[in-house]
Symmetry: C4
Subunit: 253 residues, 4 copies
């Protein structure tokens, strides 16, 4: 995968997350540099729906740009830096405020766990990070590496951490995985909220089911790709999609 | 009805189900071959919103293609094959994950039953199939004929089976019927969820009402056709609609 | 107001109700003939979003066309005929299935009453009509004048009657009024549902507040017209709007 | 900031609030005259989505136009006049009926308070004004300065007052702030409603967190501007955006 494709895919990911209401003016997605694990790519400070290739910048694991950069950067880029630092297995990170996950960080009676098969990738355990536990009264933003590292510690080896009163951070083994996980996370949250309202016992996915789904996952499988292609088309950037070792295919673009 | 029309209608059905949020990147719709009840048509592995005529393939009741086929197929095509095998009366099948039916498979305190007249076609009884009952920990996908036949057994002679933590399968006497049923299923689910939240006694449709509505149904009645035409227009394919023995009519196309 | 304007306004009303999710493939709106109170105008059997001038037909108070008509008519046109027959004050009628009013007909613990100022026009009392009370097991459709007259009796001198498991019928002193009432009816229903979920005492609008709002209402006031113009623009037919004795004004058309 | 820019920004604010479902046919936004604190700008009586430069009028703190004006004005312009009169710190005002805040004015068991970081700007206390407390049975509209002053008294030095059965009034130190506050107010309301339904203890933002966020706020910061630019693009008026002392930048316009 060359860098051009990496940057292009990151642009697509920005647009998909905007179109699917995972991000709005705020929220961001990044991808680790494929050849240099100490660097990652992320947009400059801009609403994801407006991101183009020229808006992508390269940062180090301290959250600072690796080249001269005069443009403003996301205040919370330390979320990404700290997760890449702590988790060598992670290739892509999303931070967002998707509305329907918020209640699970605010009212902690019902833990957010997978109840639908497309939600399995959030993992069996979704910890809730409260910035106040360590840092007291703040503006809730992850403004430095100390904040970021505390969040990464809470995330542990999970896929998603909720951030109390704020949003979530998710970590994936590929860009496609983290986008898919972030799209289905609010859907799983809605299904669980509504099931809770219906009452009676909740049937969560079992540990074995989560493991079985995880084992069957591959970022370039037909099934995974089907969603990526679909979402890119919906977001109006189907024409940007390229698939390694497959013929370029897009419709309605 | 010639095969060209069958394939065209299946393309329209794909687009309608996408536009009405019954399917997204996942989910599929099929129609039995009108002249060969041992075959059925379904798209190759592709998001329904992107399906065109060339994407339709012909499968046998074992879920395998009847001609050489190099393109990837839906993993869960066995849902369709097994229902056609078990139910000679069924001419069309939908499998989807429409969000608002999910809670009824997860929290089984409140059975999903018709509460609105447009929901009557889901039938008086909607069984819930749990793949784990017979197959233990799986990835929840209907990956083979064994899975499919177990689902078809649970469906019995009903119109819809919920699939725990996954979605639903619906079976109709015509493509138009199964599409309509699948569009109104989540609406009926929402009405029931919200009525439950208001509290007090729920007035379900009576058995007699469900039977009366069923008796009055015809896939090419003016009323049925009105919805098909409307949904096709909304989905941007009003120009593809053809009505047997009626003048072709479409607007805003 | 000449007939051309009446028909044009009825086309606009159809499109507005479709755009505002009050009707979908089903549901209809009618207006009494301004010069002949025993006739009314309504579309032939067609989804409201697709209605054009040539689709408008003229019916008598028996629900039958007053001219030769070969095109199919709405099965439930008797809702309109019976309300016009019973209520000389009513100039326009809507029948629809707007989703968020349905729970109040299904679970009758919480009566639907105005809780927001824009909901005041539904009136202090919204009766619930159950077709089964008099006619037993039916397909729930208002298929003849007997059904229609029973519904009209239940409506009495109110503005809206809910129809159990089906939808609502609303009656207004003008087309603009009945459209506005029908648009704000589901919004009032949602506000009441959610307030109920928050718990505690519900502050309904008082009788005096409902009367005060009613007294201040005029179908061609600046405030009423503002909504009509706005909705027509949203529905893509701002260019069809004409206002008696005012300069024609539309934007973004 | 010259007057041309002020008027242009007010047009953008109207379109953003419409696109973000804060206003519909009703609701309005105003800005104080930058050079004459006894005047303010607001649209003539028109749905916000249709407002253009020529629709902006200049009113005094009595709610009356400062120049000859034959066009109809908003009935409730006294909300704005009275708040500007009472609060010299306020530079911009919104009045709207955003649906998801309504339940908190109707069922007063759960006070509306910040639970998400983007909701912090509504302030720690959101009073509920009931016009009936002082004026008895009215049509609920703020029709004169007496009504407006009573509302302004209830608002006190807070940012938002709910209006029972009606909507809200919000006051900001800049146009961008009041728009942002008004967009995130319903989102905070939804998060709180759903958290309440999940049950258990609600973690509100602390006073210290609200203060910390407030301290960090600046109307022309990169982060604030990012949302303004994004919303303007979504609302189709990205090309109208101008940023003082920055290069003009817009995309997808």
């Amino acid at each position: 995968m060359n860098l051009d494709t990496v940057v292009q895919d990151l642009v697509i990911a920005n647009r998909i997350l905007a179109r699917e209401d995972v991000v709005d003016a705020y929220g961001h997605v990044s991808i680790r540099h494929p050849d240099n694990p100490k660097h990652f790519f992320i947009a400059r400070s801009l609403a994801p729906d407006l991101v183009e290739r020229g808006d992508i910048v390269e940062l180090g694991l301290d959250g600072q740009p690796v080249r001269d950069e005069t443009r403003a950067l996301y205040l919370e880029r330390f979320i990404h830096a700290a997760i890449y630092e702590a988790r060598p297995d992670v290739q892509a990170v999303v931070h967002a405020h998707a509305e329907d996950i918020l209640p699970f960080g605010i009212a902690q009676a019902t833990p957010l766990r997978p109840v639908i098969h497309s939600g399995s990738f959030i993992g069996a355990h979704v910890p809730v990070w409260d910035i106040a536990d360590k840092f007291g009264d703040t503006d809730l933003l992850v403004r430095n590496m100390d904040h970021g590292r505390d969040l990464a510690r809470c995330l542990g080896d999970n896929r998603v951490a909720l951030m109390r009163g704020h949003g979530f951070a998710s970590a994936g083994r590929s860009l496609i995985e983290v986008v898919r996980l972030s799209v289905y996370l609010p859907r799983n949250a809605r299904a669980l909220m509504r099931a809770t309202q219906l009452g009676g016992e909740i049937k969560y996915l079992s540990e074995g089911e989560i493991a079985a789904r995880n084992a069957g996952y591959s970022p370039y499988s037909t099934e995974t790709w089907r969603a990526w292609e679909y979402w890119a088309n919906k977001a109006g950037c189907g024409h940007l999609v390229t698939r390694p070792d497959h013929k370029h295919e897009h419709k309605k673009g």
